[in-house]
């Protein structure tokens, strides 16, 4: 077992070294959390504008429309609309979900849950946040350049994203921001992997790690392997745009080129499909743990869940072609990608069975983190099953690039990941900031969000099946889409409801962080993983003495326990009756 005495940090003295240039993984985690929440609100506002344009084309956006779009009297113009959905996708995926789940909870949870005093490379960790901050700044700056921000969709397929389709600097800055963010995430991934391999507390084997750490670790592996692929793709795109190379230019678009725009799609999706799992794996890990914690029994088939997650990680690298069925790959490739895609449902079904097995015959406490975790099971069920239509080549020929796809990936990436992040925030709040968030408002937040998001994303699935394709400024120029006016309105109203529900969260969160007097106890949720053996909020050195792990992370409801608790800490010998 890899182990050595780690130094106790001295508490930082100045404001700068404490909050800005901190080496402490917990502070860096919090920085990422604020960063992510900020971008979540920006991206959410963009989503509302998109929805508004779809439901009420030609009507001014309420309240702030006049201020944002003065030239068109508050109505969102078509070019701005394209920028909005491009930036919405980019911001949500790279600047909201990634920082919150991987940046914030990866940094915060990994050392605490494996019993380490910090990450292996604190300096690298700090740089990783500051590089991400630079990237966020570049992205926001791209909104204000002449000709506006990138407008080629978050996938930014060439040749639309080359100078042919988007002559402004916005697209260049977009590519640069993504590249810089990739550097930051790769640095984070190196840190996470090394930390998990070398700094586990003595006695902690890989299967004694909480599943959250499994999820985050697998995510880091995917990040380290596949972000450079995207990095290479956007670098070549930058070369095409700035230095005049012709990688992605072809046909009449290129004066001399013999490049290939489809190459970018290959590169993008070699990264892009693992990226989907990069986003969802931490949420799966968190949910697997929380279901067990609040059902007060060990995680059902924890090893099988961990191995299923690993299997999915491996499979996710082999299936990217199902994003490109309409570009006419050879039937042989199509066949291969479809079959590989379908095998993903075996591990998925296994851990669904394990999730349900965990709550079966449990003693469920319906706290807010538990509600959000069960919400993830529900929405991910829908998201996963709707994926089947899109992995199947013939149905994909119809549904590709329709709102069905949008609904599907919002269920998997937006709904599941968002609910998973909320579960994590509510759950680790006492350990992060030392206070609990208000349970009542947390539950109100859950139910409104749940209703809202199902309204939005179910609406999208229906629209997609009715044939409405993506990224339309005004779908109602088509006769066959005219019947969809009411369902678009319904979806938009659901989105507004869901958007306003997040105000509850923000107020609750800010109140708990800055204004709440009442301190949380060391272990308010009564669970036994290592982070709950130390005071709340976690002191800056984490563990006074490096803990020695003697049992698994989910030892709850053991009938042999005699000391009046129904759980035991990982530092305690497993009770046997």
């Amino acid at each position: 077992m890899a182990f050595f005495e780690q130094n106790i940090h001295h508490p930082p003295k100045t404001f700068l070294s404490k909050y800005i240039f901190s080496y402490d993984h917990k502070v860096i985690g919090k920085q990422f959390l604020w960063y992510g929440i900020f971008f979540l609100l920006v991206g959410g506002l963009m989503a509302l504008m998109i929805r508004w344009a779809l439901a009420y084309p030609g009507e001014p956006f309420p309240v702030i429309g006049q201020f944002l779009f003065p030239t068109s009297n508050g109505v969102i113009p078509p070019d701005t609309y394209a920028m909005l959905f491009t930036m919405h996708g980019t911001i949500m995926i790279f600047y909201a979900i990634t920082p919150i789940l991987i940046g914030a909870f990866g940094n915060f949870c990994i050392p605490l849950m494996i019993g380490a005093r910090d990450m292996v490379f604190p300096l690298l960790n700090m740089l990783s946040f500051h590089i991400a901050a630079v990237s966020g700044f570049i992205l926001l700056a791209s909104l204000f350049v002449p000709l506006g921000a990138a407008a080629g969709g978050w996938t930014s397929y060439p040749t639309l994203s080359t100078l042919i389709g988007s002559p402004g600097t916005g697209q260049t800055l977009w590519s640069l921001a993504i590249f810089v963010l990739g550097v930051s995430s790769t640095m984070g991934a190196i840190n996470y992997i090394t930390t998990i391999i070398t700094l586990r507390a003595p006695g902690m084997g890989y299967f004694d790690m909480p599943l959250t750490v499994w999820g985050l670790g697998l995510t880091a592996v995917l990040n380290a392997i596949f972000l450079p692929v995207l990095g290479a793709g956007v670098l070549l795109l930058i070369f095409d745009r700035v230095f005049g190379t012709t990688f992605f230019l072809a046909g009449a678009a290129a004066t001399t080129g013999t490049g290939d725009p489809v190459l970018f799609q290959h590169v993008f999706w070699i990264f892009g499909h693992p990226e989907v799992y990069i986003l969802i794996l931490p949420a799966w890990g968190v949910v697997s743990d929380l279901l067990s914690f609040f059902a007060r029994k060990p995680a059902f088939g924890a090893k099988a869940t961990a191995l299923s997650m690993t299997t999915i990680t491996i499979l996710s690298t082999l299936v990217y072609g199902h994003h490109m069925f309409t570009t006419q790959m050879s039937p042989l490739l199509t066949q291969t990608f479809m079959t590989l895609t379908m095998t993903i449902s075996i591990p998925s079904a296994i851990f669904f069975a394990n999730w349900l097995g965990t709550i079966w015959k449990g003693s469920i406490r319906f706290t807010s983190p538990m509600l959000f975790s069960m919400g993830v099971v529900f929405v991910f069920g829908l998201g996963g099953l709707t994926g089947l239509y899109l992995g199947t080549v013939t149905t994909d020929l119809y549904l590709h690039d329709t709102y069905f796809v949008v609904g599907h990936f919002h269920y998997t990436m937006a709904a599941s990941v968002l609910l998973g992040s909320f579960a994590a925030v509510y759950f680790w709040m006492p350990k992060m900031f030392g206070t609990m968030m208000c349970e009542f408002w947390a539950k109100v937040h859950f139910w409104i969000t749940m209703l809202g998001l199902n309204g939005v994303f179910m609406g999208m699935l229906f629209m997609g099946y009715a044939g409405m394709h993506r990224r339309l400024y005004n779908p109602f120029v088509y006769d066959f889409l005219n019947k969809l006016v009411p369902i678009n309105e319904f979806t938009t109203i659901s989105a507004i409801v869901m958007g306003f529900a997040q105000i509850i969260f923000v107020v609750n969160f800010v109140h708990a962080v800055f204004f709440k007097k009442e301190k949380a106890s060391d272990n308010p949720w009564e669970v036994g993983t290592l982070e709950w053996t130390i005071p709340s909020p976690a002191p800056n050195y984490n563990f006074k003495e490096i803990p020695v792990v003697k049992c698994g992370p989910h030892e709850l409801g053991n009938p042999a326990l005699t000391n009046g608790r129904d759980f035991q800490y990982q530092t305690e010998e497993l009770a046997r009756g």
């Binding site: 380290a224 070369f239 190379t245 290959h266 590169v267």
Partner: protein
């Protein structure tokens, strides 16, 4: 007892250093692997390579670069084998300056390409050569910065790397350097010779 603890710490530092280095090198290789993938797609699907109207790049300068990078890598290897002693200081400097020589060579290569009329915007073949060499040279510059860091490390410690954390850092710098040499060899073989 103390030596046992020290051994453990040393072992730990080595482990951390090598795990981190492996992950980092995997990331870097994926970046280049993507480029090689793109290159082979174009190469295998086109009827003629280099495409019609394109001359082959004269091999003189790339070959020179190859020799330089091999020399540099070899001296770096000797430096590591010698255990970073003060008497191997010259190996460090030879390795470092040949590294700079390689970067200078790349600038000569780009100049030469311009004089023979191969510009970035004249099709996929020059695009490939330019993009590969740009990205690789950028990494070489990173490698040189790491080399300067290695110099600081060595001079600060009077050329005695007695604890394994420092030794690990020094070795990592050199392994990255060897990695870049290997990438260049692949580029030389695939882009210029074949």
């Amino acid at each position: 007892m103390e030596t046992a603890v020290n051994n453990k710490i040393n072992h730990q530092a080595e482990l951390q250093g090598s795990v981190a280095l492996i992950v980092a090198l995997v990331s870097f290789s994926m970046l280049f692997a993507t480029l090689f993938l793109g290159y082979s797609v174009f190469r295998l699907t086109s009827d003629m390579w280099p495409p019609a109207g394109m001359a082959r790049i004269p091999l003189t300068i790339p070959t020179l670069s190859t020799v330089i990078v091999l020399v540099s890598s070899a001296f770096a290897w000797i430096l590591e084998k010698s255990g970073y002693e003060r008497k191997s200081m010259s190996f460090y400097f030879i390795s470092f300056f040949t590294g700079i020589g390689f970067v200078v060579c790349q600038f000569y290569l780009w100049n030469m390409l311009k004089t023979i009329g191969v510009f970035t915007n004249s099709g996929i073949y020059p695009s490939m050569i330019y993009a590969f060499t740009w990205i690789h040279t950028a990494h070489m510059v990173l490698g040189l910065i790491a080399f300067i860091y290695l110099g600081f490390l060595l001079f600060k410690n009077n050329w005695i790397l007695d604890d394994s954390i420092k030794l690990q850092k020094a070795n990592s710098v050199l392994r990255f350097w060897h990695f870049l040499a290997v990438i260049w060899l692949m580029m030389y073989a695939l882009l210029f010779v074949l």
